[in-house]
């Protein structure tokens, strides 16, 4: 397998380019971490501040969780990088089955 990054004939130049790219990638990670922290704080605040209707809070915090998980998957777990077609298939396959289970259990089961 060729090391396709070393293509300028000068390893020094390539190293600097890759370092810069990794550092840039890391900056996006920090931004997404800040956003995740922010979403978490909003979710906790929505529950801590008593005064909102439960019918509003519940869908609202679930939406916040879904957004946060997308950041986690696409940035922290690198699903935004190339070569993640199969992981997406596996994960979304699991999510589809899992969503169906949750839908079933919360609608068909009653006591």
């Amino acid at each position: 397998m060729a090391n396709h990054q070393l293509n300028s004939g000068n390893p020094r130049v390539d190293i600097e380019y890759r370092r810069k790219k990794n550092a840039e990638d890391m900056r996006y990670q920090i931004v997404s971490f800040s956003l995740m922290m922010f979403l978490t704080l909003i979710a906790f605040a929505a529950v801590a501040i008593k005064g909102f209707e439960a019918t509003f809070i519940k869908p609202f915090i679930i939406l916040l969780a879904a957004v946060q998980v997308i950041f986690q998957l696409y940035y922290f777990m690198h699903m935004n990088h190339k070569g993640h077609e199969a992981p997406k298939l596996f994960l979304y396959g699991g999510v589809t089955v899992g969503f169906t289970i949750i839908l079933t259990f919360t609608t068909i089961i009653w006591w």
Partner: protein
């Protein structure tokens, strides 16, 4: 490029986690496993949602009696931060900085132990202060199965990362262990993904009522 090859900063590949055939297989297989884990946790969430607050008599504690914001918040902050520290570890792995990677993995492990300690305290508190146990109600069974399964994943993740660090401490980074570290960090992130839904669906929605 083979697994035993010695690398330098300059020869280290850009995507060491996928540089060998074994690494590619590991990467693919692990994501397949995570797809299965998604189904596992979804079914535990479904069970919890169906059995939430189903208790045999009025003396038993319900979700809104049990959960407290400060504890859940602290646990969430610990686990969320540990997800970031493991991102830092993989950043240093890609830059062939083995010592720095170990340092950040060490931080991840410490934060993980903090989270696990809080969870043990929490379960102990529920059992002794509320008599909320695995067998006290359907609610109790569903709660401890879901949150306990997640806690077991945290414990396993900690063991996994510690073992990798100890086993490879003298070896340094190569294409044999880089994919192992990468996959372990994916597992750690997945644990955080599950926790995001646990703190939202179990704790926050439980407190709302």
């Amino acid at each position: 490029m083979h697994v035993e090859e010695k690398f330098t900063h300059e020869t280290w590949p850009a995507s060491p986690e996928k540089a060998t055939l074994e690494a590619k297989n590991k990467f693919l297989g692990f994501w397949f496993f995570l797809g299965g884990e998604t189904v596992l946790f979804a079914s535990l969430f479904a069970t919890y949602l169906a059995l939430k607050d189903r208790v045999p008599n009025t003396h038993q504690a319900l979700a809104k009696d049990l959960f407290e914001l400060p504890l859940t918040f602290t646990a969430t902050m610990l686990l969320l931060t540990s997800s970031l520290t493991s991102v830092y570890a993989m950043y240093h792995m890609k830059n062939f900085a083995f010592k720095k990677m170990l340092l950040w993995l060490g931080l991840t492990v410490l934060l993980g132990f903090g989270f696990l300690g809080l969870e043990i305290y929490e379960f102990n508190h529920y059992v002794h202060a509320f008599h909320h146990t695995f067998t006290s109600s359907a609610f109790g069974s569903a709660f401890y199965t879901l949150v306990g399964f997640h806690g077991a994943h945290v414990a396993f993740g900690l063991l996994w990362i510690i073992t990798l660090m100890a086993r490879n401490a003298k070896r340094g980074l190569n294409l044999y262990n880089a994919p192992k570290f990468y996959v372990a960090s994916l597992y750690w992130h997945f644990i955080d993904v599950v926790w995001v839904f646990i703190f939202t669906v179990v704790y926050l929605m439980g407190m709302v009522g």
